[in-house]
């Protein structure tokens, strides 16, 4: 639908800029049903034919001129690029905030693990301002064990830290 509309726009623009004289849109003797409504004004041709087109040829077969492509690209750029920029910027700000929150959560968990190494649980949930966070703890090694902590929101890791704790019986 959008492509069709863009194509119509481009065709219309190309017609405005086409220096060749406009062609007759109706064949001899043919009357448009809207002829009675015609008002005076600049001459427009409602058909998409141009002089030089083969009889019976449709506009979809003639391809685009360079001007049409440039105008299409310009419209696309003007509308889409600022939209994308805004979306990406907003995502970046949200991600920054989540990264700071994750680092705060990890700082708390790291302190708890350091103080109570025997009470480590592999996963637990935290709720911060209505958002669920999952803290995962992976313990590797015995004696001075390495604990890898990750803070995840909706399955995405926003922070990771490593704590070494003395843990017996691993």
């Amino acid at each position: 639908m959008t492509l069709r509309f863009l194509r119509l726009c481009m065709n219309a623009m190309a017609r405005w800029t086409d220096p060749r004289p406009l062609a007759l849109s109706l064949s001899k003797g043919e009357r448009s049903p809207f002829d009675k409504l015609r008002v005076s004004g600049p001459c427009f041709d409602t058909s998409w034919k141009r002089p030089g087109m083969r009889a019976g040829g449709s506009s979809s077969k003639r391809g685009y001129t360079l001007l049409e492509v440039l105008i299409g690209l310009a419209i696309f750029t003007v509308v889409v690029v600022p939209l994308l920029t805004t979306v990406f910027d907003r995502t970046r700000v949200t991600r920054s905030r989540d990264t700071v929150i994750a680092s705060c959560l990890l700082q708390q968990e790291a302190a708890i693990i350091t103080a109570f190494p025997d009470q480590i649980v592999p996963f637990h949930k935290r709720r911060v301002d209505g958002t669920d966070w999952t803290i995962s703890v992976t313990v590797a090694g015995t004696g001075m064990a390495q604990c890898i902590l990750q803070a995840l929101k909706a399955g995405t890791a926003y922070g990771r830290t490593i704590v070494y704790v003395f843990k017996e019986g691993q």
């Binding site: 809207f34 600022p82 939209l83 905030r97 708390q108 708890i112 350091t114 103080a115």
Partner: protein, 155 residues
């Protein structure tokens, strides 16, 4: 005499259609740019809030790094022995949306703040946890391992 087609102009329906389509397109572009502008403004404000969050967190870390051992932990006040001193206590308290160190302002503005303490029965160390909201309403928290002096045990 044959009518001259080039001078036939546009029909009313064509005119109406052209105006309608151009009005739709122009209004779409207009509202898109308005929303982009608003989005840009709110994005700038959000960036400032995140920056405030980072700075507040750093200040809190600095403040709590001087806690050597905790004596009393209450939801809005802790009494502690600074790590730089062998004896003598100091306090960190949240009051009137500000964090106070002793009787002085620490320069940290917070919407709310709560302290928690976790320790095991008879253990000589525990965890001091703090969390609150910046003046913009963003959550901030942290924690550190601290020594425990009597009264803080079990709180």
């Amino acid at each position: 005499m044959k009518p001259h087609r080039d001078a036939r102009g546009v029909t009313l329906i064509e005119l109406v259609l052209a105006i309608t389509i151009s009005a739709i397109v122009v209004s779409m572009v207009f509202f898109t740019y308005i929303s982009i502008f608003k989005g840009y403004k709110s994005h700038t404000v959000q960036s400032q809030h995140v920056m405030e969050l980072v700075v507040t967190r750093k200040k809190l870390d600095n403040l709590f790094s001087e806690v050597g051992a905790v004596e009393t932990v209450e939801p809005s006040r802790i009494v502690y022995v600074p790590s730089s001193q062998a004896s003598g206590t100091s306090t960190i308290a949240w009051a009137s949306r500000k964090l106070l160190r002793g009787s002085e302002e620490s320069g940290i503005a917070l919407k709310d703040m709560a302290f928690r303490h976790q320790t095991l029965e008879g253990a000589s160390s525990g965890v001091l946890l703090w969390e609150g909201h910046t003046s913009a309403g963003l959550w901030v928290g942290g924690g550190c391992v601290v020594k425990v002096i009597g009264a803080a045990v079990g709180q």
